[in-house]
Each structure stands twice: as structure tokens, then as C-alpha cells.
């Protein structure tokens, strides 16, 4: 039910967002949502307004999986979503308040806010991708987040949970839910799951299987991602040719297809709708800069960097490694030492970003030929002079690079 208070809150938020856009402070999503929530603390609930929603959360792949799921559900009609990466309650409120028509929606949610958002929007589905170390200066421990999810997903009114059975932390968090769809979406990073989240004992692994002496073990999946094939619960394999790279994204596509199936979208239709996506808010964007091909990869934490390193094509010789350590990145870049940068040996790297000195030291010990250039645009120019470049950047450094390459595209547009 929409109250007068909410109507006022939404109008004020919308005005603030417009002002923010006019004054070029930003796209206004966050400030608008904050103002709406300040006036009506239940604004998220009101903005959701009984709509039919799916939530997507996890350490890595939220934005890409959200975008896959939006494509799949759009085969049924319009879908509201929080594009732009604003995945805190303020951003969700703004997205829902702005686009009131669609009945269906897909929201990506920052991991610790999952309980609050479930309570406010009563989603039909919650999709859990993975959990691994990230921003430890803020969240301290990974298992704590898994516990927060677990508490939120327990109970009779809980939504259907679509969960990656290859991540023991996700399984532990999901397994208390009354209704679960398990998806074998894969997990390359195992370093946060040597210890059983349930009993604290050693988790043993054999191939893709894993188990703990307390009884927690890998559930039998009904959906599976293997190579470039997604197998649905009927046992039918679907070859997917995604427009975005990486085995991890085949897993994300499987999770999105499994979620879309709750809305009655067939696996074939869902996966077909995802193949046209080539870039997601700058991620995987292929463009050119200083006369060379450039691709942007976002990686925020050791698990993400480990995946991203597998996406660098063998023939690509120039790599830019850009790292900041602002609040949104995590203030402590010690995690650079959890990333197997040794895999870049034989290529030429340029270290840049606000923590380029940490990167340079890491690359020296990894035996990677490199130079350090403070300015991100200058770093990319130096790399692009020598040939095609893969840019790997963490969160805020990535935002900088989106602007750097957009600036180049704009200039080309004007000149030509």
C-alpha cells in the first residue's frame, strides 16, 4: 500500500536525483534513494509494492548475473532492475521508485544487506552466487556474511533459493531454506572453504565433490554448468555461446536460467536471451585506445582476479594492472598476494592506480616484467603503444578506466 508519506518521499528523492544529474554530481540514484529513505524509512517496501522480484547476491558476478536474468525475464515483458551498480537499499529504492510500471524485477543486492532487503521486498527468488574474501577491512570475516544469509533464509515465508552447490559457504547459508534449487556453477577459488562453516572441521575435496565429517556435503545439483554447456533438470544440455568471456560466466548463466525457470522461462529461451550481452556496465568492454584494441576486466578480490587472469587471451602481450584502495575497494591491498600474478610472466605489465607501488612490488616478486605509471591514462597509452591491451582493474580503478576509454571514444567521434 502506498502511503502519502511514501509519495512525498519518492517525489523528493526524484527531485534530488534530477538536481544531481543537472549539476553533474552523478546519476543521482544513490542520493535520490537516500533522501527517499530518510523521509520514509519503509520506502523500499513501498517502492517494491508487491511486485514479483528476484534478488541476486554474492561476492563476484552480481552485475553480470543480474543482467543475464533481466535478459531472460524480458522475454516475458518489461523488467525493472537496478542497473548502474547501486546495490545498497538506497539504490534499490531509487530504481524501483523510478520505474513503476514493470511487475517483474531483478535486483542485485550487496551481500550484508540481503536480510533487510528480503524483509522489505518479499522476493520470489534469491540467487546466491558465491562468497569469498573481499573488503576484509569492513567485513572482517567471510563466514560472518554466510551466517547473515543463513539467518535470513531460514523460515516458512522464505523465498525460493537458487544456490551454487560448488561453494560450501553458499551451501551452508542456503541449506536452512525451505525451498532450494541447487546449481553446479563451479568455483575455482577454494581458499575460504578449507574449514567447514558448520562444524569448523576440515572440508575434504575430491574432484568437484566436497564434504565434511559433520554431514555437510555438496548437494546433488539439478542444473549443471560444464565447459560451455548448461544442463537443465530434464537432463537436456544447452550449448551456450556467451558474448562475455570466462567459465565463471557459464556458471552465472546457469544460475540465471535456473532462476528464470521459476517464472516459466525455458532454459533454451533464457540462455538464448543472454548470448547477446557483450558488456555489462563496462565489464568485458572491447574498444580501442591509442590505436590498439583494449578490453576492460573488473576484478575486486582474489577470487575475482583469479578468474580474470584466466580470461586474458594467450596472444595478448600487454596487461595493465590498476589497483586502488578506497573504501569501496577495501583499504588493505594485502590480497594482491593471494592472486597468482605469476601467470602473467612472459607478458609486459604496467602497474597503475593509487596503489601502483603495491602492485609493482607484487609483480617484481611474481617475476613479471613491468613498469609503474601513476596516471591511468598514461599507463594505458604506454601499453597500447606496444599492442593490444588487457586492462585488469579493481572497483574504483575500473570506474576510472571506463571514463578513460569513453573519453577516447568521444574524441574519435568528434574528430571523425
Amino acid at each position: 500500500m502506498t502511503s502519502a508519506r511514501y509519495a512525498l518521499a519518492r517525489a523528493a528523492g526524484s527531485a534530488a536525483a534530477a538536481l544531481s544529474r543537472i549539476t553533474r554530481q552523478g546519476d543521482g540514484t544513490t542520493v535520490g534513494g537516500r533522501i527517499t529513505l530518510a523521509i520514509d524509512p519503509r520506502a523500499l517496501e513501498h517502492a517494491a509494492g508487491g511486485r514479483d522480484l528476484a534478488l541476486v547476491t554474492g561476492t563476484n558476478g552480481k552485475t553480470t548475473t543480474r543482467s543475464f536474468l533481466v535478459a531472460a525475464l524480458e522475454t516475458l515483458g518489461p523488467v525493472v532492475s537496478n542497473a548502474g551498480g547501486a546495490n545498497l537499499p538506497s539504490g534499490l529504492t531509487a530504481a524501483l521508485a523510478r520505474d513503476r510500471a514493470p511487475r517483474r524485477g531483478v535486483l542485485e543486492v550487496d551481500e550484508p544487506f540481503v536480510p533487510q532487503v528480503i524483509e522489505a521486498v518479499h522476493p520470489r527468488a534469491v540467487t546466491l552466487l558465491n562468497l569469498s574474501r573481499d573488503q576484509l577491512d569492513r567485513y572482517a570475516e567471510v563466514r560472518r556474511l554466510a551466517g547473515i544469509w543463513r539467518d535470513a533464509l531460514t523460515g516458512v515465508a522464505a523465498p525460493t533459493v537458487i544456490a551454487n552447490c560448488d561453494d560450501p559457504l553458499v551451501v551452508w547459508a542456503a541449506s536452512a531454506a525451505p525451498d532450494i534449487v541447487w546449481v553446479a556453477a563451479g568455483q575455482r577459488w577454494h581458499d575460504d572453504t578449507s574449514v567447514c562453516p558448520e562444524c569448523g572441521g576440515v572440508l575434504s575435496r575430491s574432484g568437484t565433490d566436497w564434504s565434511s565429517t559433520c554431514g555437510l556435503r555438496r548437494p546433488v545439483p539439478s542444473w549443471r554448468a560444464e565447459g560451455s554447456t548448461v544442463t537443465d533438470p530434464q537432463g537436456q544440455g544447452h550449448d551456450v555461446t556467451l558474448g562475455v568471456p570466462g567459465a565463471v560466466n557459464v556458471g552465472n548463466a546457469a544460475l540465471a536460467a535456473a532462476t528464470a525457470s521459476l517464472w516459466g522461462v525455458s532454459a533454451a529461451d533464457a540462455l538464448a536471451a543472454m548470448t547477446s550481452i557483450r558488456t555489462v556496465e563496462g565489464r568485458y568492454l572491447s574498444t580501442s585506445y591509442a590505436g590498439s584494441a583494449v578490453r576492460l576486466l573488473l576484478a575486486k578480490n582474489p577470487a575475482g582476479w583469479t578468474e580474470a587472469l584466466t580470461m586474458v587471451p594467450a596472444e595478448r602481450q600487454q596487461v595493465v594492472v590498476a589497483v586502488n584502495a578506497r573504501a569501496a575497494d577495501g583499504r588493505d591491498p594485502s590480497w594482491l598476494w593471494d592472486v597468482p600474478f605469476e601467470q602473467l610472466a612472459g607478458r609486459r605489465a604496467v602497474a597503475t592506480g593509487e596503489r601502483s607501488r603495491d602492485v609493482a612490488v607484487r609483480l617484481r616478486y611474481a617475476g613479471v616484467d613491468h613498469e609503474r605509471i601513476d596516471d591511468p591514462a598514461a599507463a594505458l597509452t604506454a601499453a597500447a603503444r606496444l599492442g593490444p591491451v588487457e586492462v585488469l582493474a579493481n572497483y574504483t580503478a575500473f570506474q576510472t578506466y571506463r571514463k578513460v576509454v569513453r573519453g577516447a571514444e568521444t574524441r574519435v567521434g568528434r574528430d571523425g
Binding site: 533487510q116 569492513r138 567471510v142 576440515v202 611474481a366
Partner: protein
């Protein structure tokens, strides 16, 4: 050719949450740069601790991981290595479990491995998170820079001496010092990893194994140190430490 220097990385998957496995990389590579054969030996949680490693390295981890590590090391394997004088570096949770007692995730006092005369309980107030600057001039390794992230407070007993005096940040949270030195064991709350940010401390450990060392090119580490020392000093002038914020807040 001589046997390679073996650097045992103790349970990296449980005691490596904060990048501390990098300490083993630093030790290994600094020997190789000098033409000395070296290998890092990661020891997984279900494997026995090698008895003949030359250096042992332990890092930080979560509470449940600490308990598991203690239960595995309670077989006396690490103590035997310390008794024969093998150099050890223990960071954060690794430091805490080498003490007499530490607090587990439920707030209960648990027995540690007893290699360091210290006891760990909880810091009063918020978790210590931020740049940490420690003057370890007395230990001959100068100023140490790193990043701390812990809720523990560690009080040293008479048999342990501090690694250094805290110039900025929290460290042990008692007596304005950080870490501990006892026999061949060096302990600290510094992440970064500690040895990547402080090559002098790395060489201090290596010297105990291979004797005097030739200089290596540390210009990039020097640049990093200069930047972090500046950052720690300016942070120290403002807030003494960044406060840990509970996750359930719109950031």
C-alpha cells in the same frame, strides 16, 4: 649443489586470509635473487608439518580456522622446530595461537601452543583496522609498515619482548608495542604482507639461516615504504584508527 632452503608455509588455506602467504613468496624469491636455491613448501591442514624446514611462516585467519590450526599443531611439531631454533614468523591469528592462551570465536579462553609468553583477549572498543607503524630499531630492522585488522589484545609476559614500539595504529593493544620476539620466533600484527613491505625484516630472518646476504634491488619496496610511512603518519595525526563498521549499515 646444496639442498634448497625450505620455507614451510603453515596451513595457508586457513592461516592466509589476509594475504600473509606472500611472506613465503618474499622469503623464497629473495634467496633466489641471490642465487641461493629455495622453495616454499605449503603445508595443507590435513598434512603433517615438515620437521626439517628451515623457516616456518604462519599468517592470519578466522576464529574457526585458528581453532583448527591449534588442534593440528598441538602434536608438538611446531614446538620441536622452535626448540631447534628454526626461525619463525607468525602474523595476527598465527601470533595469537603461539601464545599461552587466546580467545576463540565464542569468547572462551583456549590454550595456545605456548611458544610465546603472551596471552590474547579482546581489545576494548572497536576492532583495530588500519595502517600500523612500528619502530623495531632495537631489533635492528628499523621502522616497520603494514596494515592491521584484528579484535585481539595481546599482553606479553616477561619471557617475550616486543618486536617494536607502535608509532601509529594499535598493534598488540597493550603497552604501546607490537608483536613479540622470543627465541627464534618473531610475531606481529602487521599484514601487507609484513615481509613485502619490510624487506629488512625478511633479510633478518634469512640471515639466521644462510648467514650474511648480498644486497638486492629494493627500490620498488623503498618507494612503497615511503608512501605508506607518509600515509600512516598523516592517518596518525587524525584518527588513531579507523573504526570497524557493522555490515548492517548503508555505507
Amino acid at each position: 649443489m646444496a639442498d634448497p632452503v625450505r620455507i614451510a608455509l603453515v596451513f595457508p588455506a586457513v592461516l592466509g586470509t589476509y594475504g600473509d602467504s606472500g611472506n613465503a613468496v618474499v622469503l623464497t624469491e629473495r634467496l633466489r635473487w641471490r642465487g641461493i636455491a629455495a622453495e616454499a613448501v605449503p603445508v595443507e591442514i590435513d598434512q603433517p608439518l615438515p620437521q626439517q624446514a628451515d623457516i616456518y611462516v604462519l599468517g592470519g585467519g578466522e576464529d574457526s580456522a585458528q581453532a583448527l590450526a591449534v588442534s593440528k599443531l598441538a602434536d608438538g611439531s611446531l614446538r620441536r622446530a622452535a626448540d631447534r631454533g628454526a626461525p619463525m614468523l607468525a602474523v595476527c591469528a598465527g601470533f595469537q595461537i603461539l601464545g599461552e592462551t587466546w580467545l576463540d570465536g565464542h569468547g572462551d579462553v583456549s590454550p595456545g601452543l605456548g611458544l610465546i609468553d603472551c596471552r590474547t583477549d579482546r581489545l576494548e572498543g572497536p576492532r583495530a583496522v588500519g595502517e600500523l607503524l612500528v619502530d623495531a630499531t632495537r631489533e635492528g630492522v628499523g621502522v616497520l609498515t603494514g596494515y592491521e585488522n584484528h579484535g585481539g589484545r595481546t599482553v606479553l609476559g616477561p619471557a617475550a619482548r616486543p618486536l617494536g614500539v607502535v608509532r601509529s595504529g594499535v598493534g598488540n593493544g597493550a603497552a604501546t608495542v607490537d608483536g613479540a620476539v622470543q627465541g627464534s620466533v618473531v610475531a606481529t600484527y602487521l599484514h601487507g604482507p609484513a615481509l613485502a613491505r619490510n624487506p629488512a625484516l625478511a633479510d633478518h630472518l634469512l640471515t639466521q639461516v644462510v648467514g650474511s646476504l648480498t644486497p638486492v634491488d629494493d627500490r620498488e619496496a623503498a618507494e612503497l615504504r615511503e608512501e605508506r610511512l607518509r600515509a600512516a603518519r598523516s592517518a596518525g595525526r587524525g584518527m588513531r584508527r579507523r573504526q570497524w563498521r557493522p555490515p548492517a549499515r548503508d555505507a
